[in-house]
C-alpha cells in the first residue's frame, strides 16, 4: 500500500510541479497591484510527507482516495508586511481563484497565543493545469493558500519544525516559551498597525 501510493505520487510530481510554477506566476500577476507583499511562493508536497499524511493512523475518517482528497499537494503562501495588508490580498485572490473553503486560524481562547494565519482552499483553474493534467482522473482538484504577516510567519515557521513535528510531547516550559514567542509576534503586528495608523494620520 505504502510503496504503491509512493510510486503513484512520484509519477505525478512533474505535473504538480508544472501547476505549481503556473500558480505562482498567476499569484504574482494577481497581486502585482497589492503593496506590501513581501513574498509569494509555492511548493509541492514531498512524496514522503504525502504518504505519511495519507496513512496517518490518526486520520478520522481515513482517506479513501488520498490522491484526490489531500488538498495541499500544491500549496502557496503569501507573506505581507502588516495586518491591514491581509484583506486586500485575500480580496484579490478570491477574485482570481474559486474558493471552496476559508478559515482564519487563531487560538480558540482569547487568553491564548499561538498559530495565526488565513487559510484558503481554492480550485486549481484550468489555465494553470499543464498539458496532460486531465488525462489522469485523480489529479488534485484544489490547492491550499496561506496568507499571513511576516510576524505570524516568524512564529509559525520555526514552530512548525520545532514543535508541530516534535517526536515527543513538549515540556511545559517549552510550551510557555512558544506561547511567549507567539504573543510577541501578535503584539508586534498590533504595534505595527498602530504605527501605520499614526503615519496615515500624519500624512493626511
Amino acid at each position: 500500500m505504502r510503496e504503491a501510493l509512493l510510486a503513484r505520487y512520484r509519477e505525478r510530481e512533474p505535473l504538480l510541479r508544472g501547476a505549481r510554477d503556473r500558480l505562482e506566476g498567476e499569484c504574482l500577476d494577481v497581486l502585482a497591484q497589492c503593496v506590501h507583499v513581501d513574498r509569494i511562493y509555492f511548493r509541492i508536497k514531498s512524496a514522503k510527507s504525502f504518504v505519511e499524511k495519507a496513512l496517518d493512523p490518526r486520520n478520522e475518517p481515513e482517506y479513501s482516495d488520498p490522491l484526490l482528497e489531500i488538498e495541499d499537494q500544491i500549496a502557496g503562501r503569501v507573506l505581507v508586511f502588516c495586518l491591514s495588508d491581509i484583506p486586500p490580498v485575500l480580496h484579490a485572490l478570491s477574485n482570481a481563484f474559486q474558493t471552496v473553503e476559508s478559515s482564519s486560524r487563531r487560538p480558540e481562547r482569547d487568553e491564548s497565543f499561538g498559530y495565526e494565519s488565513e487559510h484558503r482552499i481554492c480550485v486549481i483553474p484550468p489555465h494553470v493545469q499543464p498539458d496532460g493534467w486531465s488525462a489522469s482522473a485523480d489529479m488534485p482538484r484544489t490547492f491550499e493558500l496561506q496568507v499571513r504577516t511576516l510576524f505570524m510567519h516568524a512564529y509559525a515557521e520555526p514552530q512548525h519544525d520545532l514543535a508541530y513535528k516534535a517526536v515527543q510531547e513538549l515540556p511545559s516550559r517549552v510550551r510557555r516559551e512558544l506561547a511567549w514567542i507567539a504573543a510577541s509576534a501578535w503584539g508586534a503586528d498590533q504595534a505595527y498597525e498602530r504605527v501605520r495608523q499614526w503615519n496615515r494620520a500624519a500624512v493626511e
Binding site: E26, D29, V30, A32, S64, D65, L68, E69, E71, N95, A96, F97, Q98, T99, V100, E101, S102, R120, V123, P125, P126, H127, Q129, P130, D131, W133, S134, A137, P140, R141, T142
Partner: protein, 336 residues
C-alpha cells in the same frame, strides 16, 4: 459510463412568484431508443471541449445547494435522487425569465464503478410538423409540445467524479450563448441556475491569451505569421465581442502558419474556457513590439502605432521607418 437514472420535467418559466408551478414530470425508464438518443446527445456535446465552470461554494460550510443535489442525484437512493431532481427542476423554473422559452429538463446519471457522471440537459420547446399518409391523401400535423435535441438553444452541464468532498466542484457546460453574449442572457444557465462561475477569471483568461500570443509570436520565424499575430493583437484590443476563449480568438483572427503556431503553444487544458477580455490585463503583457534593426537601433513601439507612425515594408527582409516629434532624449550605457 452506463446510464442508470433518468428524469424529465417540463419547465415553464416562473416569471413571478405567483405563477410558479410545480414542474410536471418524474422518473423515466429509458427504452433502448431513448438510451441511444441520450448517448448520442452526450457524444455530440463534446464535453471535453466545453467551457469549465465551478460551483460557487459557501467557503465557510463548503456547500452549494445545486452541487449537493447533483451529487445526491448521482449517488443517492432512488427516492432521494427523485427529490433532488424535483428541486433542480423547481430551481430552473425560478432561474428562467421572460426571455426563456419553456423547456424540458432532463437530469441523467451514469456510473462506472465508484465514479458517476451527472448531466443536466435542457431541451427548448419547439414546433414540428408530422407528415401523415392516410386514405384521403397526405396531411400535415403541427406538434407544438416537442422538445428539440439539436437546437442551438439546448444547454447541458456535465459533472463527473467520485462521491468525495473534493469532487464535483467543477464541471463543463454546453451553452452556445456563453461565448457570444455577455451578461444576463448568457449567464442564466451558468450563474442563476447552476450557481456556478466560469473557471477562468476574466483577468486570468486575458493573461493566458496574452502569454499565448506572445509565445506564438516569439517562437515563429515566419514573417507573415508574425504579421497576422500582430494584427490580431491590435484587433483584439478594440474588439466589440469581449467574450472569448483561446479557440474563438484563433478562429476570429488567425489563419495558416499563425494559427498553427498559436495552437501549438496554447495551453491544451484551457483552450475552450470562456472569459471576458480585459484590456489592462492584456496590455500588462503585450503592449509593445520591439524591433532590433541590423544597424543596432532598437525600436520599441506601442502595438497600435504599428502601421501608423511605425511602418514596416517588404516581406522577406522587412524594413522599418518611423516618424514623430522627439519628446525626450537621454544618454544611456545600454538599451533600456
Amino acid at each position: 459510463m452506463k446510464l442508470f437514472r433518468l428524469h424529465a420535467y417540463s419547465i415553464v418559466p416562473a416569471r413571478t412568484a405567483d405563477d410558479e408551478m410545480e414542474p410536471r414530470g418524474g422518473a423515466i425508464k429509458p427504452s433502448a431508443e431513448l438510451r441511444s438518443a441520450m448517448d448520442n446527445n452526450r457524444s455530440r456535446a463534446k464535453f471535453h471541449k466545453c467551457t469549465q465552470v465551478g460551483f460557487v461554494v459557501d467557503p465557510t460550510s463548503r456547500t452549494n445547494d445545486v452541487r449537493d443535489d447533483v451529487m445526491t442525484y448521482g449517488f443517492g437512493e432512488a427516492a432521494s435522487a427523485k427529490s433532488a431532481a424535483l428541486r433542480l427542476a423547481t430551481l430552473l423554473g425560478r432561474a428562467m425569465d421572460r426571455r426563456s422559452p419553456p423547456c424540458l429538463l432532463v437530469p441523467a446519471a451514469s456510473q462506472d464503478g465508484p465514479r458517476a457522471q451527472v448531466i443536466l440537459w435542457i431541451f427548448p420547446r419547439d414546433e414540428a410538423f408530422i407528415l401523415n399518409f392516410g386514405r384521403e391523401g397526405p396531411s400535415m400535423e403541427v406538434v407544438s409540445d416537442a422538445f428539440s435535441q439539436r437546437s442551438n438553444h439546448r444547454k447541458a452541464a456535465a459533472f463527473e467524479g467520485k462521491s468525495l468532498r473534493t469532487e464535483f466542484l467543477t464541471g463543463r457546460v454546453l451553452d452556445h450563448q456563453v461565448s457570444r453574449v455577455s451578461g444576463e442572457v448568457a449567464d442564466f444557465w451558468t450563474n442563476r441556475f447552476l450557481r456556478c462561475a466560469l473557471s477562468v477569471s476574466n483577468d486570468g483568461g486575458t493573461r493566458m491569451l496574452a502569454r499565448t500570443v506572445r509565445k506564438a509570436h516569439d517562437s515563429t520565424d515566419d514573417p507573415i505569421a508574425k504579421e497576422i499575430l500582430q494584427a490580431a493583437v491590435v484587433a483584439v484590443r478594440h474588439t466589440p465581442q469581449p467574450r472569448m476563449s483561446l479557440d474563438t480568438f484563433a478562429s476570429r483572427y488567425l489563419k495558416d502558419a499563425a494559427l498553427e503556431t498559436f495552437e501549438a503553444v496554447a495551453p491544451k487544458e484551457a483552450r475552450a474556457d470562456v472569459f471576458t477580455f480585459q484590456r489592462p490585463a492584456f496590455d500588462a503583457i503585450v503592449q509593445f513590439q520591439v524591433f532590433h534593426l541590423n544597424t543596432g537601433v532598437i525600436v520599441s513601439s506601442p502595438m497600435d502605432q504599428i502601421g501608423q507612425s511605425v511602418k514596416l515594408s517588404g516581406s522577406g527582409n522587412r524594413t522599418l521607418s518611423c516618424s514623430g516629434t522627439v519628446a525626450l532624449e537621454q544618454l544611456r550605457a545600454r538599451h533600456a
